[in-house]
Amino acid sequence: MYSDLVMDHFRNPRNVGTIEDADGVGNVGNPVCGDVMQMMIKVKENRIEDIKFQTMGCGAAIATSSISTEMVMGKTLDEARELSNKAVAEALGGLPPAKMHCSNLAADAIHLALDDYKSKHKN
């Protein structure tokens, strides 16, 4: 059902956890749907210096969370904003069709974290 890469990220998720003094936080999903993600970012000189996630969800939800943190770590905020759910799925070597729409939310969570950062640092 899942590729080896998905399973690797599920078993050994990168960057799990929380950031105490996060500069931006993004929450997506809904417990009623079974998938909930939280992304926290630390920003330094317009770059993502650190990112951590917490996810309740299926294998796809956890793996997309994990790989997406690797994909944006160290990137500029503009680069990070270009990350799409599709790119995340592709980086994992594809996802089962049923999982594409509902569990593939990591890029959305990152965008929300970026928005959160921006709204706090508008001035």
């Binding site: 009623v32 079974g34 309740m56 969800g57």
Partner: protein, 393 residues
């Protein structure tokens, strides 16, 4: 695969080697079409009729009331469709429960779209149907009640004999009896499935749930009831299910049922202690773990739970890494993302229903395997909890 702890016997079981042995000659050697007149066909016809007698003995019926099908889903579909189309001039109302298998639920809903009426009887928090609710649901237009014998997701056993007695009682002085079907797919080998004790007119079985081959099943049809065959053609199975007989499958379906029925006592002795050890052990993981289904009126091999704040598939994948095969809700819906309709019907909120885990035992399990599961599960639960944003919010 050697050290696999297989705890998904409600999804499917391997074919028992003795059953496979009985099937083998019918693939290559005794291959005649049972409908033919020559000697080669007499052998296969004899095998099919012997199998029919074997099944009839287990369900307490006459061989002519036994129809072989391609599995539980076909049996369920055939019972419902066969009755409602046959009786459409007499009534259009079906009664079922909120915890049926999709083979029942989806078929009822499809027929609803074609113009039939449906009442879905609720269940209590253990997933059990109340006989009074069935009684209340029945109208003059009701042609069929279909309620499963035991649930595939959480193991609760339904009061089928009581409902059977109710329907018989209610038919007094009526022009016709409301027909009664039970899906006994999960019950075979575990419970007594004698049709007269149950008071049912139709009963479904699926061989791969009791160590028989996939793609074979049984529909018991009480003599004289109305039935319009949903699969028509060459007149096989006394005009109730057309199609060249799956001879090896039929032989295996019956051999496995006979074996399962003979070993029923031993099966209970084997499963119940393991089940109770599993249930105790899993519940002792601590807060946020809940048993689903009835604490005692449940299948001997079924231990089912839900966990707060973690999701079922992630538990399954983690167990798989530890060599444990389990499921979350029913196997057929594992590709879907909907929370289980069975758990929702029992009043479990959707956000918790996503965290369900089903462990179903079989002959190949032992105490050491149960202890292996109990050994790895707490770590899995804790790891997933630690990752869950809901635990920390």
């Amino acid at each position: 695969m050697n050290n696999l702890v297989y705890l998904d016997h409600a999804a499917t079981t391997p074919v028992h080697p003795r059953v496979l042995e009985e099937m083998l000659p019918y693939f290559t050697e005794h291959y005649g079409n049972p409908s033919s007149v020559y000697s080669l066909a007499q052998e296969t016809r004899g095998a099919v009729e012997g199998a029919r007698q074997g099944v009839a003995d287990v369900v307490g019926a006459s061989p002519r009331d036994i129809v072989f099908t391609s599995g539980g889903t076909e049996s369920d579909n055939a019972a419902i469709r066969g009755v409602v189309w046959a009786l459409r001039k007499h009534g259009d109302h079906i009664v079922t429960s909120a915890v049926e298998h999709h083979a029942i639920i989806d078929t009822c809903h499809q027929l609803e779209k074609l113009g039939f009426k449906l009442t879905v009887v609720p269940v209590d928090s253990y997933g059990m149907v109340r006989v009074e609710d069935v009684e209340k649901a029945i109208t003059d237009k009701t042609v069929l009640v279909t309620i499963m014998m035991a649930n595939n997701e959480m193991g609760t056993i339904q009061p089928i004999a009581d409902i059977g007695a109710l329907l018989k009682e209610m038919s007094k002085g009526k022009p016709r009896k409301v027909l009664f079907h039970t899906d006994a797919v999960q019950a075979a080998g575990a419970l007594d499935i004698k049709v007269n004790k149950l008071g049912v007119d139709f009963l479904s079985l699926s061989a791969h749930k009791y160590y028989g081959p996939k793609g074979t099943g049984v529909l018991y049809i009480r003599r004289g009831v109305n039935f319009l065959p949903p699969q028509s053609g060459g007149g096989q199975e006394r005009n109730r299910r057309a199609g060249t007989e799956n001879v090896p499958g039929i032989v295996g379906c019956a051999a496995a049922l006979k074996l399962a029925d003979e070993k029923r006592e031993a099966y209970l002795k084997h499963c119940v202690p393991l089940r109770d050890r599993l249930i105790q052990g899993v519940l002792s993981i601590g807060e946020g773990v809940h048993l689903t289904g009835h604490p005692t009126d449940r299948l001997p091999n079924s231990a089912s739970f839900y966990f707060d704040n973690i999701e079922g598939e992630s538990i399954l994948l983690s167990l798989d890494f530890e060599g444990v095969a389990a499921s979350s809700g029913s196997a057929c819906t594992s590709a879907s993302l909907e929370p289980s309709h069975v758990l929702l019907a029992m009043g479990i909120p959707a956000e918790q229903a996503h965290g369900s885990l089903r462990l179903t035992l079989g002959w190949d399990n032992d105490e050491a395997q149960v202890d292996h599961v109990l050994g790895v599960l707490p770590g899995i639960v804790n790891r997933l909890k630690a990752m869950s944003p809901l635990v920390h919010q």
